[in-house]
């Protein structure tokens, strides 16, 4: 069944200096599904996400133990080029950070597209990635205007389009809707629902209801541990662990 799982993670431990940020996490993440990760602040969601494309490597105090297989291959193997890995496993952050450039350039300035010179090809890429991010119709007539003039929700979809333009296999999203109004949030959620046909999506969210709406499977993190992992439907109707129930019903803390 190897092919059905995009990631297989076995006994992942992450240390931040002496403190343990993740404790023996084992989880198999199915391909072409949305995995929602929920949990209180400081539970390790972001650290987990950043382990999946080795962004944690950029922080010297962090050390990672355990095994993370992407399509069966160990991503921490010395032969693996982290830059190539990050192209396969793209990431969208909480706050949209478009470059102070035009909408068009925001997409073609992605480092991995650097070498593409063919205008036609670039135009095509801009159109397809903006379309996939559900932004094309809103911006197609003003591609040359500044990305900073877009609304927050549009900027976030632009950031998603930038990631999509790199043609990744996995998209990691860390609270992508935290500053967005319900309509922009719905636009992102709709986009994710369509994108999962072609990508594996891992969505960290502080909004449990968002996980309930969009995720196929949900993992609950608490104090560096993964307490429960199951079909979203099960997690939100009959969680096995009392702590999960307390969290999804808002009884925490």
């Amino acid at each position: 069944m190897e092919g059905d799982y995009k990631f297989r993670i076995n006994n992942l431990n992450v240390f931040w200096g002496k403190a343990q940020a993740l404790r023996s996490i084992s989880i198999d993440i199915p391909a072409n599904r949305i995995l929602g990760i929920i949990g209180p602040s400081g539970s390790g969601k972001t650290v987990f996400l950043r382990s999946l494309n080795r962004m944690n490597d950029l922080v010297p105090e962090i050390s990672v133990e355990g095994r993370i297989l992407l399509d069966g291959e160990d991503i921490y193997h010395p032969d693996v080029d982290p830059v190539k890995l990050r192209k396969r496993v793209g990431m969208v952050f909480a706050l949209p950070v478009p470059l102070p450039a035009s909408i068009y350039d925001n997409i073609v300035f992605s480092p991995s597209l650097f070498r593409i010179r063919d205008r036609k090809k670039l135009n095509h890429l801009v159109e397809t990635s903006l379309t996939s991010a559900f932004l094309w119709d809103e911006v197609k007539d003003r591609l040359k205007t500044s990305a900073l003039r877009l609304s927050g929700g549009q900027q976030q979809r632009l950031c998603l389009a930038r990631v999509l333009a790199m043609e990744p296999e996995v998209i990691l999203l860390d609270e992508p809707c935290s500053g967005l109004d319900p309509i922009s949030t719905a636009a992102i959620e709709d986009a994710l629902g369509i994108l999962k046909k072609n990508f594996t999506i891992i969505l960290v969210t502080n909004n449990t209801k968002q996980a309930a709406r969009v995720a196929d499977n949900t993992a609950f993190f608490l104090m560096s541990e993964m307490i429960e992992y199951g079909a979203t439907e099960q997690i939100f109707t009959m969680p096995r662990d009392k702590r999960t129930n307390d969290y999804v019903t808002g009884r925490f803390g």
Partner: protein, 222 residues
């Protein structure tokens, strides 16, 4: 989520229990009518019925509001669905008690009926199942709920015996056909109340554990 929501859940539960007490009173009035031939409380039962009907609507609206405003999950969601289901069961039980009382008062206008041994026995089991089902809900006691499920068969058997007895009566004393038919309907109504108590017990298990035990789909080993 805010404290407010949990307070709302509590007051909703309280409202359902108020409705439960009204219906419990109706059941005991029906029992008295049947066993002691006391039909003086017909007016009380009518008043209770009107209050129960109003409460049913209020409680459903309250549930709807809490679901819409708070989008509850897990145990809270099961709880709200449970309240809404029990709400409907209670209203049905109330209706049966009204039918029972009406039926008996008509019978009593005609003649004194001798008590059938099995009838009071069945009625006692039914009313205790009903009380217990509400109590199981108050404390979400799964064991208690399971005990109620087990008693349903006993009621079915007693009802069968009562009906056989009444058929014999009709054969022997054809002039008592009307009375006998009326008593058969009464036995049926009590049996329905037991069914509703069973449904309430199933809701308790669902709310407590998330398991749907209706129609015996459950794994008997669980």
């Amino acid at each position: 989520m805010d404290r407010h929501f949990f307070d709302e859940l509590n007051s909703l539960k309280q409202e359902l229990l108020n409705m439960g007490s009204l219906v419990e009173e109706m059941v005991s009035i029906a029992v008295r009518a049947l066993v002691e031939h006391d039909v003086n409380l017909l007016e009380t039962i009518r008043q209770n019925e009107a209050r129960v009907n109003r409460l049913q609507v209020d409680i459903d609206e309250y549930c709807l509001k809490l679901i819409a405003l708070h989008q509850p999950a897990a145990s809270d969601l099961r709880f709200l669905l449970g309240i809404s289901k029990i709400n409907a069961e209670l209203e049905r039980v109330g209706d049966h008690t009204v039918n029972i009382c009406k039926g008996i008062s008509v019978v009593l206008e005609k003649e004194q009926v001798k008590p059938f041994i099995d009838m009071p026995k069945m009625v006692e089991i039914v009313s205790s199942m009903f009380k217990e089902s509400l109590h199981a809900f108050v404390i979400l006691d799964v064991d208690k709920a399971r005990m109620i499920l087990l008693r349903d068969d006993q009621v079915d058997q007693l009802r069968y015996k009562i009906i056989q007895e009444l058929i014999e009566l009709m054969k022997k004393e054809p002039e008592k056909v009307e009375t006998a038919v009326s008593l058969i309907l009464t036995a049926n109504s009590f049996e329905k109340i037991a069914d509703h108590a069973t449904n309430i017990a199933e809701v308790v298990i669902f709310v407590a554990q998330g398991k749907d035990v209706r129609h015996h789909f459950e794994d008997p080993l669980l």
